[in-house]
């Protein structure tokens, strides 16, 4: 459905706006995480089929006898699992770096952490 595509693109563009414009380091990391969410939504939405009576790709007792199983595309869902885990790992590493920056500089304003200190 086209609403999914437009919504996913809006989330990606808002995340990009937060990375470009904001000055607080934690808000920049939050924008990175928002971009990950938007891309995962776009990846899962590519697999939707517009036939009649398509369901989630789990074989219950009714679908095992059919020769042609009416499922949505399960391959993008499998690729999205990996992408979510990698996004969470990147966010964790970025947040621990922000903790070290605060301990060294005393501030988390991106305009003030430019010079090498001590």
């Amino acid at each position: 459905m086209i609403v999914n595509y437009i919504g996913a693109f809006i989330v990606i563009i808002l995340g990009l706006y937060m990375v470009i414009v904001k000055k607080n380091l934690i808000k920049i990391v939050l924008g990175l995480s928002m971009m990950d969410s938007g891309i995962n939504l776009l990846l899962v939405s590519f697999g939707y089929r517009t036939d009649l009576g398509v369901t989630a790709p789990i074989f219950d007792t009714a679908a095992q006898e059919l020769s042609h199983a009416p499922f949505v595309d399960p391959v993008p869902q499998a690729l999205t699992l990996t992408s979510i885990v990698i996004g969470a790992c990147v966010t964790a590493l970025a947040l621990s770096l922000v903790m070290k920056v605060y301990e060294h500089y005393g501030t988390i304003n991106a305009d003030k952490v430019r010079r090498l200190n001590g």
């Binding site: 989630a56 789990i58 095992q64 699992l81 885990v85 964790a92 903790m99």
Partner: protein
């Protein structure tokens, strides 16, 4: 201020005492039934690791130190999980086919709990890995926020 913190701790403490065993059991259920219902190793592991965050919210760093006195054991268990995954992936090479091949798949009818060969064991090892890894990461991050014995 002190009275406010005392009241908030009572509510969260009682909630944690009720919800922590339920979280553990739900996480293990989602890990075990991965080839029958939606879910799997990654999802179940994160559900169990959310229980550790719940314990930190209720009891603080002292309670976390009482329940997990040796965090290094968690990291060693994650390495063991990774080795189990590699061992079951090497079973394909030992039977003259490609890497990561399901060679013991006909050991039960579809629909049983132990039915789909290497998928069951690989899934269990990935669930162990995610559980222990994310709990260890959360414990390290919560220890770094300790402001009681910080010497400036």
């Amino acid at each position: 201020m002190e009275q406010n913190r005392h009241t908030k701790n009572i509510i969260i403490k009682c909630g944690n005492d009720f919800l922590f065993p339920i979280t553990l059991i739900l996480g293990f259920y989602v890990i075990l039934h991965s080839h029958l219902t939606p879910g799997g190793g990654f999802q179940g592991g994160v559900v169990v690791a959310a229980g550790v965050a719940l314990v930190f919210l209720a009891y603080g760093n002292e309670g976390l130190k009482k329940i997990f006195p040796f965090p290094e054991i968690l990291k060693q268990t994650e390495n063991v999980g990774s080795l189990i995954y590699s061992f079951f992936a090497l079973l394909g090479i030992l039977s003259a086919t490609n890497f990561c091949r399901n060679t013991i798949f006909n050991q039960g009818t579809p629909g049983d709990l132990y039915s789909s060969g290497t998928i069951f064991w690989m899934n269990f090892s990935v669930g162990l890995k995610v559980m222990m890894g994310i709990s260890f990461m959360l414990i390290i991050m919560f220890k770094a926020l300790d402001t009681k014995n910080e010497n400036k």
